[in-house]
Symmetry: C2
Subunit: 296 residues, 2 copies
């Protein structure tokens, strides 16, 4: 029982004769006769009663006809679904983003644009900091992530540079620094700092610390915060100042002012789109392409 034979058989049933069917499927009548014989032989049961005016179905033939049409319909349906999957029109994409970068206009635009262009794809977004994102990527929990990293992405991970971010000083709106901004980091030697944990974004942390080491600056840390939102809230509450990604300023936070300092602008913080190497599904491929276009 082959698909071709089923197609022929359906044509025979629907035209009522082997001759008529042979015209419909564009093969010669003896060839079709032979295929019907092979089909019956392969199934071990007669399907057609041959008469001088054409053929009629046996009971078995009647059953096969309904099954055959169903199987053939399913075949085209499966093909269509495979095509949709293969071209990335349908599927699932788990994306990690740092909280901070959900605010960045280009990231929001990318997500809106992708969902508009590929409405059938389930785009699941997880807000995670860079460290957990990398972990989940490697474990397969995420398909892609938007995260900070240096040029040395771990083996098994591929990445594409989206943006070069840098750092800014964030101070309470009530702070005197708003009126008379500091010129250099040393001006902040006595100021109380809020600081982050290394574990949630090791690369970000290490790059920042290395940068300050080069500048011989060591902040007076009085408070720690788990993530950028927490830290900004603390600043707003007047608990201290902090050094945060410049991307934070895309999303104005009440009670917080951002101050650019030359020594912070030179701290390069590359933002990457990362994914597991060698496992680029069509859905992911489309996403990467759209990201590349959106970030020039």
């Amino acid at each position: 029982m082959e698909f071709r034979q089923l197609e022929y058989f359906v044509a025979v049933v629907e035209t009522g004769s082997i001759s008529a069917a042979s015209r419909r499927v564009h093969i010669a009548q003896p060839a079709l006769t032979r295929q019907m014989q092979l089909l019956e032989e392969g199934l071990g049961t007669p399907l057609l009663d041959r008469h001088a005016r054409g053929v009629r179905l046996t009971v078995a033939g009647r059953m096969l006809y309904s099954e055959a049409t169903r199987l053939l319909d399913e075949r085209v349906d499966i093909k269509a679904r495979l095509l949709a999957l293969g071209s990335g029109q349908t599927g699932k994409l788990s994306l990690g983003v740092t909280v901070t970068h959900l605010w960045v206009p280009e990231v929001a635009k990318l997500m809106r644009g992708y969902r508009e262009r590929y409405p059938q794809v389930a785009l699941d977004v997880f807000t995670l900091l860079s460290g957990p994102q990398l972990e989940k990527l490697q474990q397969g929990g995420l398909d892609a992530g938007i995260l900070y990293h240096d040029d040395h992405v771990p083996s098994g991970i591929e990445a594409r540079l989206l943006q070069r971010d840098h750092l800014v000083l964030a101070v309470p709106a009530s702070s005197s620094w708003v009126q008379s901004p500091p010129r250099r980091l040393v001006d902040l030697a006595e100021t109380e700092f809020i600081w982050g944990y290394r574990s949630v974004s090791p690369v970000y942390y290490d790059r920042m610390v290395a940068h300050f080491a080069r500048l011989n600056f060591e902040p007076r840390v009085v408070q720690y915060g788990a993530d950028n939102i927490t830290i900004l809230s603390m600043i707003s509450a007047g608990l201290g100042v902090a050094i945060v990604p410049a991307a934070s300023s895309s999303h104005p936070t009440p009670g917080v002012r951002f101050i650019e300092l030359e020594e912070l602008t030179t701290c390069d913080m590359p933002l990457w789109l990362a994914w597991r190497a060698g496992e680029v599904s069509p859905v992911l491929d489309n996403f990467i392409q759209m990201a590349v276009e959106m970030f020039v």
Copy 2:
């Protein structure tokens, strides 16, 4: 997308490599490689990621794998069901029987035997007299019928002789004929007869009437009855005597006595198994064969 390719694909998925699968399906590795290429080409989407250690499924491949196993399972299932249908193990058989002959031991034994041997066949029994049975047979409402007929079965109907029945006289148990049975039909010239309608069993009626015409016997009919059961009930009620098929006596009826008369025994009433010509389904074929065996 052909069944063969799906089988190969499933083997590739389950062994994890084209080489291993080629061993499992007993073809050479390059042939299998080519079939996988053809499958992907035909579906328009990649299914396998080729690596040095084997292959891995793409998202589309994962979908196809589940569909493929299902389709292949369905294929064997369909074949099995077709075989059952084609061999008459499953299906439906609408059988007509005259009320009288449900009582005949051989008929009951045939039906019990058939249902025991082919428990998966739905055997629908309709109790109809010979005339309606023939009509329903021709219209397709019945697949087979057990009925009286002469040798000239209508065109389009095939039949096989089961039994030669004859006639008997049925009288009320209270009748004086029980004590002193009649020798000849003429003895019954003055007796009140219950008679049947021609329409419900024309051949039976005509043969009987022709037989009596030859004997120059004309009964004094005082009452008509639609079928044999009705007539026997009327006899039991003392409404008259009747001439009925000898088969009736297989099933003793309270208040009725059966009397054999030589002139009635010689009235040949052949009982046939009849069906539509040229449309012998396997189920029907089995039934006919069993009937033939049972009636020697």
